[in-house]
């Protein structure tokens, strides 16, 4: 720009994007628009509870269509990018989406859509009156945009959008248990965000840029005197806390069982996965480290997370808390894929994240129906639900198989990928732990299933006797509640029987992380 100094007329072309944006490419901001617009409208319509569910579901349908459109566009045409205010990257805030971000966004909006449908009948009246749908839409704004943004400070902002909306969701209902859980959840997640922001501050101080593509270029070229280790450690701490990685995972089982089942389902399915996605993005794409130290460190975290999740699931008697620990165990498998760091390992971790989003949300929805029928979440007080609802038993059994990574369900392929990558990489012990914790998960969830469904009644019921269950699901709600649960269960089965499309997406996502040339070229394409 220096050579043009002296001209009175400012040459806008060298500082701004002047080429018009192709109308189809503008789809990258559609999720932002849809979620914020519907969130605002829902907030205005909160005095009319009958409009909440239809409007919310319509918004989530549009969101799903938009993310599907983005994914289709990214798969055929490579990474998609747009820089706000027409400033040339890296000066404007960039939205950039590759296959990884687009597929995470699609899976999360599908899950949110199904949970939104479930919530139309599954919420208590007070919860829908006090704004379940506005919070859900605003949380989806945070979740989807975190997957779509190409600017690391902007990622922080979307993290906070997601957090504040999830705070609203977790206290809906205002019970003592929820307040207690919400305090733990809120303080520890704020702390995680503060660590993330600290790392971003250091990164900006060292590199002078927040644009992910430019960070990736600069760090690959190497910056002398750059405190890469400090920054990486802070990112691992901040995102690890958000993703519920060992040893900073204890807020999750302390809080995720307190909100309503619908809110719990989106929490378990989506929020921790955003942390896992951010870890993948920063550790693999932005700051690829050759140091063995991180390798060992991440592997230890992954093993600790898997073991904590599986052993915790074995040791609890509250069904929803068991599910919370199973979420953590799944995060461990994703981190194992990240620690292996090869294309296969990453693909396995990403595939497992997709699987975990669908299956964990479904299990939380199932726990809601179990609570409605059995009047409790405590394994000691539940029993005999098979007689009350064979359909629920069948769906839950399918999900139990899937979360234990048994064929032919989605978890099976994800674990095969991670195990194979670990073996190829010479880490047979890591493969052993992945499989061993799978066995523990099967034991924990299988035991929960037999106690909830197969025995005649609660603990103390004599063998062979049948007790009637205390609750019931009203006939007019059945179609919606079971339909949405069945939809997620069916997704897991379909992915298990026909894994190649999703596996190709996971592989393309992993390849894009390891070699971000296309991503970088998409962001800076206009500049060169």
């Amino acid at each position: 720009m220096a050579e043009s100094a002296g001209h009175a007329a400012v040459d806008v072309a060298s500082a701004m994007v002047t080429a018009p944006i192709a109308p189809l490419d503008a789809i990258i901001v559609a999720p932002t628009l849809i979620t914020l617009l519907f969130g605002a409208v829902l907030l205005m319509a909160r005095k009319r509870p009958e409009t909440q569910a239809p409007l919310g579901i319509a918004g989530l349908l549009l969101l799903t269509a938009a993310t599907a459109g983005i994914l289709a566009r990214v798969v055929t045409g490579g990474p998609l990018t747009m820089t706000m205010g027409s400033w040339l990257p890296p000066f404007g805030i960039t939205f950039a989406v590759d296959v990884l971000g687009a597929s995470f966004a699609l899976v999360s909006s599908v899950v949110a859509l199904v949970v939104g449908v479930f919530a139309s009948r599954g919420l208590r009246r007070v919860e829908s009156r006090y704004g379940f749908y506005p919070f859900l839409l605003l949380m989806m704004a945070g979740v989807c945009n975190a997957f779509l943004t190409g600017d690391i400070f902007n990622l922080y902002v979307w993290f906070e959008v997601m957090l504040i909306a999830s705070f609203g969701l977790i206290v809906l209902g205002n019970s003592k248990e929820q307040l207690d859980g919400a305090v733990r959840y809120a303080v520890l997640n704020l702390l995680a965000a503060a660590f993330f922001l600290t790392a971003t501050g250091y990164l900006y101080g060292a590199l002078g840029t927040l644009n992910m593509a430019e960070i990736a270029i600069k760090l690959r070229e190497g910056v002398p005197g750059m405190p890469v280790n400090t920054i990486t450690a802070l990112y691992i701490l901040g995102f690890g806390m958000k993703a519920a990685a060992f040893p900073v995972a204890f807020w999750l089982p302390a809080s995720y069982h307190t909100p309503s089942p619908s809110a719990g389902a989106v929490f378990a399915g989506l929020l921790t996965k955003v942390g896992a996605y951010a870890l993948l993005r920063t550790l693999i794409m932005l700051m690829p480290s050759e140091e063995a130290l991180y390798d060992t460190f991440l592997t230890a975290i992954a093993i600790g997370t898997m073991l904590l999740g599986s052993l915790g699931a074995m040791g609890h008697s509250d069904f929803r808390r068991i599910l919370g620990y199973l979420v953590i165990s799944g995060i461990g498998v994703i981190l194992a894929g990240l620690a292996i760091g090869t294309a296969e390992g990453l693909a396995g971790g990403i595939f497992y994240a997709f699987h975990s989003m669908i299956v964990m949300s479904a299990l939380y929805l199932a726990s809601g129906l179990i609570g409605q029928l059995g009047g409790s979440q405590d394994l000691r007080k539940l029993g005999g639900l098979y007689g009350a609802s064979p359909l629920l038993a069948g769906l839950t059994l399918t999900l139990v198989f899937s979360v234990s990574a048994l064929p032919p369900f989605s978890g099976f392929w994800a674990k095969i990928l991670v195990t194979e990558a670990a073996m190829v990489d010479g880490r047979w012990w890591l493969a052993g732990i992945v499989l061993g914790t799978g066995l523990l998960n099967a034991l924990a969830s299988g035991r929960a299933f037999t106690q909830i469904f197969w025995r005649g009644g609660p603990s103390g019921t004599p063998d062979g006797a049948e007790k009637s269950v205390p609750g019931e699901i009203p006939g007019e709600d059945r179609a919606v509640l079971f339909g949405s649960l069945a939809a997620l269960t069916l997704m897991s089965l379909v992915i298990g029987l026909w894994p190649s499309p999703l596996m190709r997406l996971a592989e393309a996502g992993a390849a894009g992380l390891l070699d971000p040339t296309l991503y970088i070229r998409a962001v800076f394409g206009g500049a060169s």
Binding site: A5, E160, I164, Q178, L179, V183, A186, L190, H316, Q451
Partner: protein
């Protein structure tokens, strides 16, 4: 100027961590607030500090003639302040409601979500 500010950031972090280790919710809350300010100050310091030179480019130039203050960290901090203040407001209400509901502000006595002495799950039918 960076040296003293870096020390100050360190003091902020230390007092924030000290306060957050307390079991009283109000102290934890104050700790979270100080931590947010520590991070803001850190970004401000990391953005290079230049005294009394506004980032204004003269009319006949394309780049500023001398080193000026970097406006971007200040924009970042402004965003972070808005976010952390709104979170503080939310947390304050949450903590007050928790105090009203549970009758205590000591985290060690809050056992509604996780009951102490939870017995092991049933082993058989």
């Amino acid at each position: 100027m960076e040296g003293p500010l870096a020390l100050l950031v360190g003091c902020f972090f230390a007092s924030a961590i000290y306060l957050m280790l307390s079991d009283s919710l109000i102290r934890i809350l104050l700790g979270v607030t100080i931590l947010a300010n520590a991070v803001n100050l850190l970004i401000f310091t990391a953005g290079r500090i230049v005294k009394e030179v506004p980032p204004i480019i003269p009319e006949d130039a394309m780049v500023p003639p001398i080193a000026t203050a970097n406006p971007l960290p200040q924009a970042l901090i402004l965003t972070a302040i808005v976010i952390s203040f709104s979170f503080f407001a939310f947390l304050l209400v949450l903590v007050f409601r928790t105090y009203q509901g549970l009758g205590t502000d000591k985290t060690g006595k809050m056992h509604m979500a996780e009951e102490p002495g939870d017995p092991v799950p049933p082993r058989g039918y």
